[in-house]
Amino acid sequence: MGRQRGIEILVGFFMAVGFVALFFLAMQVSNLSAAVTGDGYRLTARFSNVGSLKARSPVTMAGVRVGRVEGVSFDKDTYEAVVTLRIDSAMDRIPDDTFANVFTAGLLGEQYIGLEPGGSPEFLRDGDEIPHTQSALILEQMIGQFLFSKAGGD
């Protein structure tokens, strides 16, 4: 009986340590503590070029993450990229004249969507489209334009 009890205690300890390790991975290593996934509301935005924006890229406002990109699709009639954003439900006061930009984190970093709020008293609701957008800055295009303007200036 004593040995069986000892084994049970050790197994209990083993499982507790295992669950603590999982908990550590969930809370300390991953983004579970920060991210609220699943709920929230959807907005769409149309861009003429989204660069390398992907699903799960962050959506930020004043540099703070307020949601994530849910998907990027292509509209074959207007030749535009349609980006679906999922905004956390706590962020329900985004004005309907908000500006959506595709930004790059650092020179070569990943791309994300930055929202710049306008001044309208009306707020965007689930399913609305953000009317004002600015496409991604493509480095090659910028260099090309810069060289072209230099050549034209002389």
Partner: protein, 260 residues
């Protein structure tokens, strides 16, 4: 002559197919015997002890050293791009996604899987399994099922310990030894490692590996030729097959989970 060769090829093919069928029948019998676990939880506890608790030391030490080596190597490469702060991301994703489940499964196959095969094989060779059957006790339910579920329970927990200890090992080397900033080590890791994408998929991987490793070990023991040579061959086969199955399955699972 030609027909003889064809017949030999056919015989070996049929033999392999028959073994595969027997292995699946054994798996089905073990899964159907799950009720035995609920009736006698003591049997499961003893096997979680054998497979899990006794493997903690080797898993912990290996995890620590794998994490420390990842820290050293990762820092060497990342520092060339001026991205040493991303060390935490590299250590954590490679551990949680790949190395944790895979290395744990290989170590468990070597430490616990071989022991399971030898134990079952010897029970068969000394006719203890037949003895149980004589007493109207189903050896699959009484002997094999608790070991199977013991492995299934122990593997994800061991893999989680491996990854957690490995991340700490990478932290000691990266922050303690190489001077990476502690705050950005953790914050970049938390920003990039996703709970559902990375950690849940890692746990699913280790569950699959736990099933495969214990299944192969138990089947090889149960199917061993009941002589000392047969048991020794079965033990070798158990480790080799388990290692191959884990590495092959890991590729398939990685392609399915993170492939796009």
């Amino acid at each position: 002559m030609l027909l003889e060769g064809l017949a030999r090829l056919g015989r070996s093919g049929l033999g392999a197919l028959e073994r595969l069928g027997r292995a699946h029948l054994l798996l089905a019998a073990m899964l159907l015997g799950a009720g035995e676990i609920i009736r006698r939880p003591g049997l499961l506890t003893a096997q979680v002890f054998n497979i899990g608790v006794l493997s903690v030391l080797i898993i912990g030490v290996s995890g620590l050293f794998v994490g420390m080596v990842l820290g050293l190597q990762g820092h060497y490469v990342l520092a060339q791009f001026g991205a040493a702060e991303s060390l935490g991301v590299m250590v954590a994703t490679s551990l949680v996604r790949e190395l944790g489940p895979v290395v744990t499964a290989l170590l468990v196959a070597g430490r616990a899987g071989s022991a399971l095969t030898a134990e079952i094989g010897l029970m068969k060779a000394t006719e203890q399994l037949s003895g149980l059957e004589m007493m109207a006790v189903d050896p699959v339910r009484r002997i094999l099922t608790p070991r199977f579920f013991g492995g299934l329970v122990a593997m994800p927990l061991l893999a989680a310990m491996f990854s957690a200890v490995g991340v700490l090992g990478g932290y000691f080397v990266g922050v303690g030894l190489l001077g990476v900033d502690s705050g950005s080590f953790w914050s970049q890791m938390q920003a990039k490692v996703d709970f559902h994408e990375d950690i849940v998929n890692g746990v699913i991987k280790s569950l699959v590996f736990g099933l495969v490793v214990t299944w192969i070990a138990l089947f090889q023991g149960h199917d061993a030729v009941p002589t000392s040579e047969g048991v020794s061959r079965a033990t070798t086969r158990s480790v080799v097959h388990a290692a191959l199955a884990v590495l092959g399955l890991d590729f398939i699972l990685t392609a399915l989970m993170f492939g796009d």
